[in-house]
């Protein structure tokens, strides 16, 4: 079964979403875009070391889901986690600081691009092993339901993750324990350099499987902030009210390569172009068509520009971690000693 390689036509149906929510969605998409563009530039300048995986072109998913979440909800994401981390409200400079390996980073430079975490914002970690965070996310959901807090957990993952064992164990476990969790598959059609449809025999690698565990599943246009926000609100609402887990598969595409300096040239040009034509930033036109004031949008864009400039400068100016930091926080007592 071959997947649709080109974006499906956008639904004309206009969702019933408040203006101020729409502005927040736009603000999120713009900020995530600006951040990723800058992260790429700083990587090419040699300032981001190691690796980094961008969500360029995929911003509407993090934006839409995060906007539908409550402040104390939990998110778990992957190595491709800048967008999901920022969307929960983690300040740009702390994220940029982490990418640059600075003391000011969310993890003090010890995590790096792949491991962004900010527990105070409910960002419970970015995990670099495919699938592992799905089972861990279940644990947070279980704990929330035991503690009776009403918190919902959201776990983001890629299409490629649907073929690893932990995915299977996570879905079954979530359903059997009726956990308040929403799994969000960002299906961008590609794993690293290999298309998902070459290694999966069903059309929707996440959604077509959810039923095998008794999970409700929904497929959504992942480049449409309204649509994502809408399905996420419903899935999260259901989880919060004891309705159990669900699966959202959001169709999307990355504008750039998989990671680092990868130009992504293994992908057919028409495919890339077709998807770029469906850039989530196209949301701007919808807002204008809905009669929103362009000046408000420009203000959002200007603020994002100013913030990313400030965050980059702050990160560049931030000190490197003290070398002693290497020897802290292995254990809860703060230290690293394995002996007396």
């Amino acid at each position: 079964m071959v997947q649709a390689r080109f974006p499906e036509p956008v639904s004309d149906e206009l969702l019933d979403i408040e203006d101020k929510t729409r502005l927040e969605l736009y603000r999120q998409v713009v900020r995530l875009r600006r951040f990723e563009e800058r992260a790429y530039r700083l990587f090419m300048d040699g300032l981001v070391k190691g690796t980094s995986h961008l969500s360029l072109g995929m911003e509407a998913i993090a934006a839409g889901v995060a906007t539908a979440m409550r402040e104390d909800d939990y998110t778990f994401c992957t190595y491709r986690g800048h967008a999901h981390t920022l969307a929960r409200g983690v300040p740009m400079d702390a994220v940029m600081g982490e990418l640059l390996g600075r003391q000011s980073g969310v993890c003090g430079g010890k995590g790096g691009s792949m491991h962004l975490t900010s527990v105070e914002h409910g960002v419970m970690g970015s995990y670099a092993i495919i699938g592992a965070h799905l089972v861990i996310a279940n644990g947070a959901a279980w704990s929330a339901s035991e503690r009776g807090t009403g918190q919902v957990t959201v776990a983001f993952f890629g299409d490629g993750a649907t073929n690893i064992g932990a995915f299977h164990e996570a879905l079954n476990f979530a359903k059997v324990w009726e956990l308040p969790i929403v799994f969000v598959c960002e299906n961008n059609l590609w794993m690293e350099y290999t298309p998902i449809d070459s290694v999966t025999a069903v059309e929707h690698p996440a959604a077509d499987r959810a039923s095998a565990y008794g999970l409700e599943s929904i497929i959504v246009d992942g480049n449409d902030p309204d649509a994502v926000y809408d399905v996420a609100s419903r899935a999260i609402g259901r989880a919060r009210s004891g309705g159990g887990p669900s699966m959202i598969e959001a169709k999307t595409y990355r504008h750039g390569g998989h990671s680092r300096a990868d130009p992504g040239t293994y992908r057919p040009e028409e495919e890339v172009e077709a998807w770029k034509a469906r850039d989530p930033l196209g949301y701007r036109d919808r807002l204008l068509a809905l009669g929103m004031d362009e000046a408000e949008l420009v203000a959002i864009e200007d603020e994002a520009d100013a913030d990313i400039d400030a965050a980059s400068e702050a990160a560049k100016a931030a000190p490197l971690p003290d070398l002693e930091a290497a020897y802290t926080n292995v254990w809860a007592d703060g230290g690293w000693s394995w002996r007396n």
Binding site: L134, G139, S143, N172, F173, N340
Partner: protein, 325 residues
Amino acid sequence: MAELITYRDAVKRAIAQEMRRDDSVYLIGEDVGDAGGVFKATKGLLDEFGPVRVRDTPISEEAILGAAMGAAMTGLRPIAEIMFSDFLATCWDLVAVEMAKTRYMTDGQVTLPLVIRTANGGGLRFGAQHSQAVENWAMAVPGLKVVAPSNPHDLIGLFAAAVRDDDPVLFFEQKSLYPTKGHVEEGEIVEELGTAKIVRSGTDVTIVALASMVRRAEQAADELAEQGISAEVIDLRSLVPLDATTIIESVVKTSRLVTVEENPRLCGWGSEVVSLVAEEAFWHLDGPLTRVTTPHIPLPSADALEDEVLPSVQRIVDGCVKAVS
């Protein structure tokens, strides 16, 4: 007043002690509830604590440990059972790559107060896939604490310490010890992680042993005494943290070291203890540092063969005789 109970019953008592004390302690695993575990070590806990706090899981080791980890980072103190320690291989990513590293990677934002308890080791003729002693797998991974008690009293006290500890602890219950008995006093028992115990004093050679090997080391010490060799026996009890001080002080006194491990030879905890001594107490040594281990082979199933390869009292005696000669 002290009571004579089995290692198996000590498990149940240890879990109950902690679950009574702290509502945030949960027990999950395959068949841990009504069935009371395949080794019957959790029998009765379901009745006392109910199906919410003592909960059966699917056969999904990654999901079990994932649930424990995610819950630990958000306010619970879970105890997860992995039925046989061999099965840790099916969820090793969760143990070695997620639990062990998350606190460090997040620079301390995430705290993981959880215990993985598991039945470890051979001697039951279960064959190569259900008999491994894998405590050294865990010791080799920074970020994990590793405990392996040798008797009912220590089991309860160290288990309590493990549950109360804020780091992930792998708690190895040696399955050959389940039917063995020991005296346990009434009331709450809490010991400290990272404290070895000198179970027998001696002057000629230090024997360091763990879990199932402690009793054998003591028996070897008896036989050595008959030959006029005075052996000091240390029950290591915990591998991480490691009580290096007790080991080194003993070797400084005896000048000789023999380690006794159930695990296969290469890179076992014995090699770490030997290396520590070879670096820090070198000038006190009067003879080669000797390890008695299972040879570097998988475990065979047939009883005669399994007995052949696990360290015997005789091999411990021989190792000590060689070390002092």
